[in-house]
Amino acid sequence: MNEMENILVVNNLQTTFKTDAGDIRAVDGVSFTVPKGKTIGIVGESGSGKSITSLTILRLLASNGRVNGGEVLFKGKDLLKLPEKAMREIRGNQISMIFQEPMTSLNPVYTVGQQIGETIQIHKKVGKKEAIQQSIEMLKLVGIPSPEKRVKQYPHELSGGMRQRVMIAMALACDPEILIADEPTTALDVTIQAQILELIKDLQNRLGMSVIMITHDLGVVAETCDYVAVMYAGQVVEYSDVRSLFKNPKHPYTLGLLNSLPRHDIEQEKLIPIKGMVPSPHEMPVGCRFAPRCPVATELCHNKMPQLLNTNDSNAEQIRCWMFSDEWDGDSEVTLYGEKRTIKG
């Protein structure tokens, strides 16, 4: 992959929160790249740090949050080093975000038009009338019927699906280069979910933006993404293109995730859930964070944290697992979730 094609490169991002019960390392080693015009998925269980990753990229953390390290290179410049004013010019303009909760993400006391128009006014420096006109165009674009009427309505007059469309219209109003969609369909009905995903895909094709699709649903990844970063306990454990991830998952956690899902494309004997629980953010394991649940964890796994490294096969693929390093101290053949695997080591 050519470096120039990557519109966003996130390197070893680290975000902590100060809480009364001590510091929480919510994001602790997240790296991925977003190729121009492509969709990358960030997938992981609830609490794995997906939302915090995206909020860190846009520097929208709550006041108890702090970025401790890493880089967010947007077209080569590190967003974490930008002054706040320059950052504001990027938010909603070059990088936009939509959220999981369409019901509460719009301001209840302003009309749809006022809210979309505000983004347009800030970034395009146009007047109010022009902004409202463009808002109507945006509503049309996201498939909202009778936009002239809708533009004057308040959020409570719209359904959840409609509100998410309004959020999308607002996010895309200034023609962003990246759209971050944080579980955009989780709170919606199944039928509406499909429509919203379809809409995002369609708009991406038309407008040529890159999308970061955050989800806990591998089905959504399979449907919408080109690349995918799998997150576990605040870290990216596997990054690869979607096809190889589904065909040839490498990290034991990814394998476990796929195995715990019903699938139609391969024959499955039975669903095997991953045993154990996600570690508490207050008591992260010192070694591999998946070690307490990993069926093949070794001494090394428990004592030393593996790094996210390119695999030997391809440098578009990265794995955080000792099995893929020369230091591996376990057997050279292991059985993972019913699947035999030979380790090169």
Binding site: L60, G92, S105, L106, H123, Y154
Partner: protein, 317 residues
């Protein structure tokens, strides 16, 4: 909107009727014979009987109430027993004084309270926030009459607790010529600061709640500046509960500033009520209670209407 106001106005009718019944029953709730009480203890039986006849106290209660209500509706609340002047007139002269103090106090309270509350919320858990909240707690727990007395000591009498020369022209002498506004200063500070404390606390907690909402994060994600986030996106939502408090404060200033009016010798509604109670001037007591209740109802109505302006989610039906 007009429809809504009309409906709300109609809804106040039963409330006012209820109040008028209560006020009317005051007459019967006090121990003893009202006529006897009014006439005084030394009055002869004949005088009391004449008075009873004159006041219509021999008629059945519902007839008396009907009479009371119909004259009240025509603006006639009877005559004061002590001064003989119409109660309505007594109230009118005092009402403007109270209204003036209430308006200035509310303005002061809103001005200080909103600013302090917003600053506190924006800088929450900093030294600024903690200081503001401690002062507010102090203002809240300090009885108005005590602050009033303190202010009189310091500023009207010039007895400052520290040894600095107090500028003569700042002394508020209640008896000075042509300086009614100067008379207002201390009572308005007394009432206004107490109100400010309540408004500041309410504004702070309401702002903090709103700042944690998803739509505030959305506003930030749009690239809106922090100032606009606070003043356009957060404040308008945060004001909704604060408006209620402001309304209640104003209503309270109108009706309940009894102690403050007494301390500062202001001839307002509060004093009128207290004096009337002390002198067993029932028609005046009834009249002031009725008018104060009416004011409360009106203030509540105004609060509801401003609610509707602020919060489009409220379903008017």
């Amino acid at each position: 909107m007009t429809k809504y106001i009309i409906r709300r106005l109609l809804q106040t009718i039963p409330v006012l009727l209820g109040v008028s019944i209560l006020v009317f029953s005051l007459m019967f709730l006090i121990p003893g014979d009202p006529a006897q009480v009014m006439a005084g203890e030394g009055a002869s039986a004949q005088t009391v009987e004449n008075l009873r006849e004159k006041l219509g106290l021999n008629d059945p209660a519902y007839v008396q109430y009907g009479r009371y209500l119909s004259s009240a509706l025509q603006g006639d609340l009877g005559n004061s027993i002590r001064s003989g002047r119409p109660v309505m007139e007594e109230i009118q002269t005092r009402f403007w004084v109270t209204l003036e103090v209430a308006i200035y106090s509310t303005i002061l309270a809103v001005f200080i309270g909103l600013i302090a509350g917003i600053i506190s919320a924006v800088r929450h858990y900093t030294l600024t926030d903690v200081s503001i909240m401690i002062i507010a707690l102090f203002g809240l727990s300090m009885p108005n009459f005590w602050l009033g007395l303190l202010l009189i000591q310091w500023f009207a009498l010039g007895n400052l607790p520290f040894d600095i020369p107090f500028p003569e022209f700042l002394k508020m002498r209640p008896s000075g010529w042509g300086d009614t506004w100067r008379q207002m200063v201390l009572p308005v500070i007394t009432l206004g600061t107490g109100g400010a404390a309540i408004i500041a606390r309410m504004t702070r907690s309401s702002m903090l709640e709103v700042i944690g909402q998803d739509y505030i994060r959305t506003a930030r994600a749009k690239g809106v500046s922090e100032r606009v986030v606070i003043y356009r996106h957060a404040l308008k939502n945060a004001l909704i509960p604060v408006v209620t408090i402001i309304g209640l404060e104003f209503g309270g200033f109108l009706g309940g500033a009894v102690l403050t009016e007494t301390i500062f010798a202001i001839n307002g509604m509060g004093r009128l009520t207290i004096d009337a109670i002390r002198q067993r001037d029932f028609p005046v007591v009834q009249g002031t209670v009725l008018v104060i209740s009416l004011l409360f109802v009106v203030v509540n109505l105004l609060v509801d209407i401003s609610y509707k302006f602020l919060n489009k989610r409220i379903d008017l039906n």
